[in-house]
């Protein structure tokens, strides 16, 4: 669990997180049904970097990668963590670049001390700046 923030460092947006959850659930399902080993399953659904991060995570947590039940438990825990990450909705006048998203995401880690996913909404009618919506609070 403590290694999860490291695992999701490269995830900034709600959409990225949703795709990751979908892929992790697919792997979890196939752990039940398929005879393929974990590395093969991850290569089918995840990027190389992310696959390595998950292998590191399993190693840190001393999980036997041949024990499918243990793997399922870890994946379920990871999926649950991702589903419970807080989300901030930012409405901007432009579509931000990856660099700008990274800057905003890091600002949350540094200033708010939390991993917060960003949901970007573009509204050209906004003159400048952003509107912020977080846990039901709206700021213009």
């Amino acid at each position: 669990m403590n290694s999860y923030p490291t695992l999701v460092q490269g995830i900034y947006t709600k959409r990225q997180c949703y795709i990751l959850i979908t892929n992790l659930e697919a792997i979890k399902e196939e752990l039940y049904k398929s005879s393929l080993v974990l590395t093969q399953l991850m290569s089918d659904h995840l990027s190389l970097e992310l696959s390595e991060e998950i292998l590191n995570l399993l190693k840190v947590e001393n999980t036997d990668i041949t024990d499918r039940q243990s793997l399922v438990t870890v994946f379920e825990s990871l999926i649950s963590y991702l589903k419970n990450l807080p989300i901030v909705a930012l409405t901007l006048t432009y579509s931000p670049t990856l660099k700008q998203l990274l800057q905003i995401s890091e600002w949350f880690v540094t200033e708010v001390k939390a991993k917060i996913l960003i949901e970007v909404r573009v509204d050209p009618s906004i003159i400048a700046g952003a509107t912020i919506q977080y846990k039901g609070i709206y700021k213009n």
Partner: protein, 204 residues
Amino acid sequence: MAHFTFFSSDKKDPMDPEMAEKVLELAHQRAEKIIEKALKKSEEIVVEIDHLNDEIRKEMKQVFKQSTDSYIHTVNQESKEFTAAIAEVVPLVKEKYMKGADETIQIFQANLAAELGPLREIVDRQVTETIDQLKKKIEEEWEKARQEINEYKVQQKKQLEENLKTSIEALAKTAFGDALTPSQHQQLVMKALEKAKEEGVFNT
């Protein structure tokens, strides 16, 4: 009669043709005279008859005139008598019928009053109810109108604010929006996040 005598003698002694012709001519002349006299006489008769007719006409006219005058006189006389008789009778009849009429009116008024009593109550009640309903209807209409005016005011105010907002946004966008670089936009976003943090938005 004369020519009969002449023919009687003719039977005894047949006349020669010349003599017969003379006799015939003489007879003819005598006949013409007779006819002439007869015509004259008939004309005289006609004249007499005409004269007689005129007289008869005059007499008849006189008789008719006398009869007519007499009739008119009689009618006038009877008319006067009838008028006088009527003049005597009319006040009596009038008094009788006026009295009867007064009694009838009094009876009618009494009956009418008896019948109108409940009717008047009904009418009064209906009038009161109608007035109440009208008052209520007027109040409802007035309230409705007031409500519509208020709604219209609110709508107009909202529309005005919307128009104002659109105008200001358009103006601001022209003045600032297009002039900002992506970097300046990002700085504004970061400032907005800082402000939200200061306001405790992320403390929840």
